[in-house]
Amino acid sequence: MVTAAAILWVVGLVGVPLGALLLAVGAEPAQVVAELVEQGGLDALGRSIVLAVFAVLVGGVTGTLGGLVLARQRFWGRAVLDVAVDLPLAVSPVIVGLAFVILYGRGGWLEPVATALGVKVLFATPGLFLATAFVCLPFFVREVALVLEEVGTSEEDAARTLGASEWQVFVWVTLPQLRGALRVGTLLTVARALGEFGAVLVLGGAIEGRTQTATTFVHTMMEERHDAGAFGMSLILAAMTVLLVQALPTGARTKH
């Protein structure tokens, strides 16, 4: 009974809308392809993929280091850092975007820095990178810290007593322990980066050919009455997400 209700609930909430999307695209496939191509959909999708790859690279490195620090170091302010890492999940991305606009906008604290470096942040590619890096911050850190706390330090200690340098310990013992965490972190980060809307819209401005991403493209298409393009991109994003979730290890899928 409960199982049946649960299945019905999920199907109604997820399956039906996805089915509707599929039907909408199936009704006019030629129109969908045409609008995706002519309205700059492929460019926007490409930009989103680049952003996702960037988020994985940055998140993978900083997240591994951050996770190591959170799980292994005890220092003053650790509790604050621990909470701060989760903020991107708790705070609406629109607000985050706005905060960055204030920082880098006219008269903002960091505007002189950006100007001195010759970088235009707002309504430009750097803004997109910032927004994406921010919203994806928690995933790698959390996964890595969780696994490190779970496995403890005894394997690393064993490697040390066997003569391994700290670098060898990291490469031969710690990193292999993190394989699963990095995989899950990658998938979650890609999903989030592809799906991010609010922050990239506020910081990037959805300028066609420059800061348009897959999600802002959907929004623009809806506004401009190019429904077919919107349906097409939505279906592509949905399909990518489904594939990503399928790639998650079972344990991680139940954990999140």
Binding site: E155, T161, L162, G163, S165, Q177
Partner: protein, 343 residues
């Protein structure tokens, strides 16, 4: 001298875990650090290995002062309670790890790892993953891994603590034989007195960050220096009483000789080992049998005497004559050790 530690101190936060521990282990000797959990014995071992740093004190290995060296440079083999095998490596790669970091060529490293695995009785398992092995097998892999780089000293931290009683007993005999073959200077941390007494040349009792007694197994058993040691290494009864006019201590309905220096009227506490109590069937006896637990060739008898509970170990044949609720007289078999109450 294989290992020398001088006046080690270590504090974690507000807690003083090690409060002045000094010890030495001869080359080739096998010594146990025995004591209750939380007494600091594992911390001493980790300080010897370089996994923890002492706040003060010195550590010497084979005549070299090593406190400034990190664990990787000390040349110690360490075995952890929960094996700490590298989960993502096959058994043979686990054992070869210490050789790999020393840049031994892979063919040679593998050959030596295989040889060690054969030596610890796991010849056919080199291609297995650690999680395909039983606990006892894993710990033997861990031991082979620790021995592979031919360490100066071997440090074992509760190595059998996570294993079944049966496996424990087998492994500790095996460990002692292996020690005699390999001859490595070995320190074993354990909270199991039977384990400590049965495998080591010497036992060091550690309690509350201090050494309570350091001696051969028979010294520890026959001449415990404190009440704590006596309680820890054996089954004992602690009774309190007053020294009478006859110069004997009467406690719990028993009379016993007292240590020199005590006077009439002194309140003393006596520690009596269970096998020192002698029971005799006697309808008018003051002791009442409460419970008889058969062990191997002896039985453990719980009884009450003048309101106090006592434990005695008697031969099985004698125990068979006892009935629950029956009366016995209780006598001291041998002169007991008596300690004065502190304060």
């Amino acid at each position: 001298m294989g290992i020398v530690a001088k006046n080690l101190h270590k504090q974690f936060g507000e807690t003083q875990v090690i409060r002045g521990v000094s010890l030495s282990v001869d080359r080739g000797e096998m010594v146990s650090l025995l004591g209750p959990s939380g007494g600091g014995k594992s911390t001493v071992l980790r300080i010897l290995a370089g996994l923890e740093r002492a706040d003060s004190g010195e550590v010497w290995l084979d005549g070299q002062r090593v406190d400034h060296l990190d664990a990787a440079s000390r040349g110690v083999g360490f075995v952890f309670q929960h094996y700490a095998l590298f989960r993502h490596m096959r058994v043979v790669d686990n054992v070869a790890f210490g050789l790999k970091v020393r840049k031994v060529n892979p063919v040679e490293a593998r050959r030596r790892a295989e040889a060690l695995l054969t030596r610890v009785g796991l010849g056919g398992l080199s291609e297995r993953w650690p999680d395909e092995l039983s606990g006892g097998q894993r710990q033997r892999v861990a031991l082979a891994r620790a021995l592979a780089p031919e360490p100066r000293v071997l440090l074992l931290d509760e190595p059998f603590g996570a294993l079944d009683a049966r496996v424990r007993a087998d492994l500790r005999e095996w460990l002692r034989r292996l020690h005699d073959e390999v001859g490595a200077t070995t320190v074993l941390v354990t909270h199991d007195q039977e384990e400590a007494l049965s495998v080591s040349d010497r036992v060091i009792l550690v309690k509350d960050g201090l050494i309570e007694q350091d001696g051969s197994p028979s010294e520890i058993v026959d001449a415990p220096r404190t009440e704590f040691v006596a309680r820890f290494v054996g089954e004992v009864n602690v009774v309190e009483g007053v020294v009478g006019a006859d110069g004997l201590l009467s406690a719990g309905g028993l009379s016993m000789r007292i240590p020199a220096g005590s006077k009439v009227g002194d309140r003393l506490r006596a520690v009596l080992r269970s096998h020192e109590l002698h029971l005799e069937l006697d309808p008018r006896g003051l002791g009442v049998v409460r419970r008889v637990v058969p062990l191997d060739d002896r039985a453990r008898v719980e009884l009450s005497l003048n309101g106090a509970s006592l434990v005695a170990r008697v031969p099985r044949a004698q125990a068979q004559a006892l009935t629950i609720g029956g009366s016995v007289t209780v006598a001291l078999h041998e002169p007991a050790r008596v300690w004065a109450i502190e304060g």
